[in-house]
């Protein structure tokens, strides 16, 4: 199947999904899935393509959400301007952290980014005059309806329209990142991931590219934050605690780090798993934790590798694609 066909198929399934799941509960879940896919794409670009272990993804998510919402609520800025500002601010925060962290490796970067996320969370929680702290911000309105020639084309108060908006944006980000990682830029980034010293010896400016990846990834997380705030309608700092960063990391790893399509499925799988497990009642998150552990125990390459293995088993004679 050619790449264009795959894109078409993906676009088609995104279009059909809210028509199949036509109750509020599942449509809400679909949108949350799309937001999480966006988050994982950002993190995977940082972790999977330049090998920077970022445990602070929740910070950029939260900054995007709070900056855009505060601009709308306090200053009356139009949604899409605030959206761009939220993305920009998250990207700048990512640049700040990565300029600082670029000489740190592996677990030092992990803890530095974790520390950054803790600081951002505590600021959101304690700067009560600005963020209203734990009380939260309520009644955030959805993006304005798209009106063309006096006719309402898309009203984002409807769950379906909102889902199309987020998944459309996510799809666009996926396409752009996919072009990027298959371009020479992508090769440069993976060279840095595989061996920074060899990459530097080839004349690659590793620090600059690592900052670049970090900025792109955190800006994407900022976009997810903007969508989250206007979708849920309320903002509390607890949504951006460091455990959220761990969740996103788990989605990336379970899906298959270093591929763009893997984290997409990882995000969908781990977002829907706790919902599907609602029947288990109180123990559902226990089962979720166990599932997470077993996936990494028995499928070390993530869902994407497991899918490849299954495909090879089904077609023992054909070449692996």
């Amino acid at each position: 199947m050619s790449r264009r066909m795959k894109y078409l198929l993906a676009a088609l399934s995104v279009f059909v999904l809210p028509l199949i799941f036509n109750d509020t509960y599942w449509r809400t879940n679909l949108t949350i899935c799309a937001i999480n896919v966006l988050l994982t794409l950002g993190l995977d670009f940082i972790l999977g393509y330049t090998g920077q272990l970022n445990l602070g993804h929740s910070a950029f998510y939260g900054l995007g959400a709070y900056v855009s919402t505060l601009l709308i609520v306090k200053l009356g800025v139009p949604f899409w301007v605030a959206f761009v500002a939220g993305i920009g601010f998250a990207g700048l925060a990512g640049m700040f952290l990565s300029l600082f962290a670029v000489r740190l490796r592996g677990h030092y970067l992990a803890i530095a980014s974790l520390g950054f996320a803790v600081i951002v969370y505590q600021i959101l929680l304690n700067w009560i005059s600005l963020t209203q702290g734990p009380l939260g911000i309520y009644g955030i309105s959805p993006p304005p309806a798209v009106v063309i020639a006096g006719r309402v084309v898309a009203d984002f108060r409807s769950l379906t329209a909102f889902f199309y908006l987020v998944s459309g944006f996510t799809f666009l980000v996926y396409l752009l990142l996919n072009q990027l990682v298959r371009s020479p830029v992508g090769e440069t980034l993976t060279a840095i991931r595989e061996d920074e010293i060899s990459a530097a010896s080839l004349g690659i400016n590793c620090a600059a590219w690592k900052v670049f990846a970090f900025v792109v990834g955190s800006a994407v997380a900022g976009a997810a934050g903007c969508f989250y705030a206007s979708f849920v309608g309320t903002l509390v700092p607890d949504a951006f605690y460091v455990t959220e960063a761990f969740n996103v990391l788990a989605m990336v790893i379970v899906g298959g780090v270093g591929t763009l399509i893997g984290p997409v499925f990882g995000a969908i799988f781990l977002t829907l798993l706790p919902e599907v497990l609602r029947g288990v009642g109180d123990l559902r998150l226990v089962v979720y934790g166990a599932a997470l552990t077993f996936v990494v125990l028995f499928m070390p390459g993530g869902l994407i590798q497991a899918a490849h293995l299954v495909r090879e088993k089904l077609r023992p004679s054909g070449p692996a694609s």
């Binding site: 803890i111 950054f116 934790g289």
Partner: protein, 294 residues
């Protein structure tokens, strides 16, 4: 007046700091031997606290005995989880997978505790909480005296173990160079297990002593572990002396921030210090020279 407050908070800081040291030492030991961050460490702290609580309230045992119980519960559970999950994972030789597995184990343990113990905070009071020693205008509860004695003895024992016994030397050898230590006939798997058991036992024990200070819910360990990570970095990954020093510093920061600034700022001050340390001296307070293989 101010001098008494400063002294009073110094004591509170040292009490808190010595407990953070117990938690952070476990993390740093595991990191030293395995080069792995363990997120589930937080839940050994919580579990130790609950073990002590129920041992005191159901069996009616004394507080000191229940600290020992928390120690053993931590050790046993550490052994079980390492044997069942982390050891098989390590054979796959990937560094990200064990990290995610520790997150999975953490989610599992937290929610098991949530199912058993419920979300309502437990009031953990011991017979020593209200008995106060007073000297030179400073109040110290017996609870805090016990914490300081028990934790400083434990830290001293661990330090002596690492410095003077054969096993301790083997442990340090493995954290300096896996392969060479293996060539010298050191059984790495046994040592990893030993490290895990010691670390989890220390966390459990720290939990039993932290419980009266914390809001004891199934998620109580998370706030402690986040600070413990900061301590581990400030002290230098895998460095025992640095971790002890950094733990006491963070404890003091916490008590002085509470007194003179605002309790909400504790984490901000601690992590600003962490980022500053990483910018100036990424190798930690007391740095060991480590060569990196290219």
């Amino acid at each position: 007046m101010t001098v008494t407050i400063v002294l009073q908070q110094a004591i509170n800081g040292v009490v808190l700091g010595s407990l953070y040291v117990l938690v952070a030492l476990g993390l740093t030991l595991i990191y030293g031997v395995l080069v792995q961050i363990n997120f589930a460490h937080a839940d050994f702290v919580t579990l130790g606290a609950f073990a002590a609580y129920f041992f005191m309230h159901l069996v009616g045992a004394s507080y000191i005995l229940s600290i020992g119980v928390a120690f053993s519960v931590g050790a046993i559970l550490g052994w079980m989880i390492n044997a069942s999950i982390f050891t098989p994972l390590r054979r796959k030789g990937n560094e990200l997978l064990p990290l995610i597995a520790t997150i999975g184990v953490s989610v599992m343990m937290q929610n098991l505790m949530l199912a058993w113990f419920g979300p309502i905070p437990y009031a953990f009071e011991t017979q020593y909480s209200n008995q106060v020693v007073r000297f030179a205008g400073i109040f110290v509860s017996w609870q805090n005296v016990i914490i300081i004695i028990v934790s400083s003895m434990t830290i001293a024992l661990l330090y002596a173990f690492m410095k003077f016994t054969f096993l301790g030397k083997a442990l340090r050898a493995v954290s300096q160079d896996h392969e060479t230590a293996g060539l010298m006939g050191i059984n790495q798997n046994q040592l990893i297990m030993l490290t895990f058991v010691i670390a989890s036992a220390l966390a459990g024990m720290a939990g039993a002593m932290l419980a009266p200070v914390l809001v004891l819910t199934p998620f109580a360990g998370t706030s402690v572990i986040v600070k413990a990570f900061a301590i581990v970095i400030i002290g230098g990954f895998g460095n025992v002396e640095g971790t002890i020093l950094a733990g006491l510093i963070v404890g003091l920061i916490e008590s002085y921030t509470t007194q003179f600034l605002d309790p909400g700022l504790i984490d901000i001050v601690v992590f600003a210090l962490l980022l500053l340390m990483l910018a100036i001296r990424p190798t930690g307070l007391i740095s060991e020279r480590r060569e990196e293989n290219v």
